[in-house]
């Protein structure tokens, strides 16, 4: 993410323009060594969505309610697209009171988006059934398919922050201490 996505001018511009940025170290106070970031060339070949919980992105409304969670490494184009979606969702939620209706509103939007991603994944599987058996890095199409599978999963109900406060979301990560 650092050597590719966060070094991309379009991503930097988007972050600087549209967000208040908070970086959180999952390892604060831990004795675990940081992972080797690798070279830019290695980073470019890394499968999108991979990396487990080593990198987590959350988008929250201006009042701090988290609406979107993305897990893993993403290349600039897809990361930007998800940030745009998250930003629009966050701004819409920012105008709503904190109630079950707002939670349902976000869940519906995430369902819609996961469905959209699922449709693209299904389309690839229908046209190119061979990609299902391939590993994520074997071809551009297989990489795209693997990324869509991971994105669909990360947008799914089990990964959602459900409008919890960013403090809660971040502290829960620390309690879990799951480094994969």
């Amino acid at each position: 993410m650092r050597t590719v996505t966060f070094a991309d001018p379009a991503v930097i511009r988007d972050l600087q323009t549209h967000f208040v940025l908070f970086w959180h170290n999952q390892m604060a106070g831990s004795v675990l060594p940081p992972p080797d970031p690798g070279t830019p060339e290695q980073a470019k070949s890394y499968p999108e969505g991979g990396g487990g919980t080593n990198v987590l992105t959350y988008v929250a409304a201006p009042d701090g309610r988290a609406v979107l969670r993305l897990q893993g490494y993403w290349r600039p184009e897809r990361y930007l697209a998800e940030l745009r979606f998250g930003r629009e969702l966050a701004m819409a939620v920012g105008k709503m009171p904190h109630d079950p209706e707002a939670v349902r509103f976000v869940a519906d939007r995430l369902d819609d988006r996961a469905r959209l991603v699922g449709m693209r994944r299904s389309e690839i599987e229908r046209r190119h059934p061979e990609v299902i058996a391939k590993k994520g890095t074997e071809s551009v199409l297989a990489r795209t398919h693997a990324a869509l599978v991971l994105l669909e999963k990360t947008l799914g109900a089990e990964s959602r922050p459900n409008l919890e406060a960013v403090e809660t979301v971040v502290n829960e990560r620390l309690k879990l201490r799951v480094f994969t």
Partner: protein
């Protein structure tokens, strides 16, 4: 219904559309400024660096190329400093301050949670 439709449409467009192209300032000016980073006169070097910093992200491809191609260690060092300054998105680690700024500006918050302290954050 309307906001939902908007978000769905936006989701579809975002998944399909590539990132918008960046507007580039005149290449000649950037080339001239990059060359001036190697000037003998400190004031010329300083002025060129300031101007490149002002232009900001639009200079990035040229600065990176110049950093790769330059034979001068000094110029490469200056370019590396400039690139680092321009590409720093402005990550902060004080959540209370971030919350206050988001409320004040009405901007959403982006949280990136990583293992360890990767260079380039901060």
């Amino acid at each position: 219904m309307f906001p939902r439709l908007l978000l769905v449409l936006s989701a579809g467009a975002a998944l399909a559309a590539p990132a918008p192209a960046l507007a580039q300032p005149p290449g000649d000016e950037i080339g001239r400024l990059v060359a001036q980073l190697d000037a003998d006169d400190f004031r010329v070097r300083d002025r060129a660096a300031r101007r490149l910093r002002e232009v900001g992200l639009d200079t990035l491809p040229r600065l990176r190329r110049a950093a790769e191609e330059s034979q001068s260690v000094e110029v490469r060092t200056r370019l590396a400093d400039l690139i680092a300054g321009i590409t720093r998105p402005g990550w902060r680690s004080d959540l209370a301050a971030v919350r206050a700024e988001a409320l004040r500006t009405g901007k959403p918050i982006l949280v990136v949670s990583t293992v360890g302290l990767p260079t380039g954050f901060g």
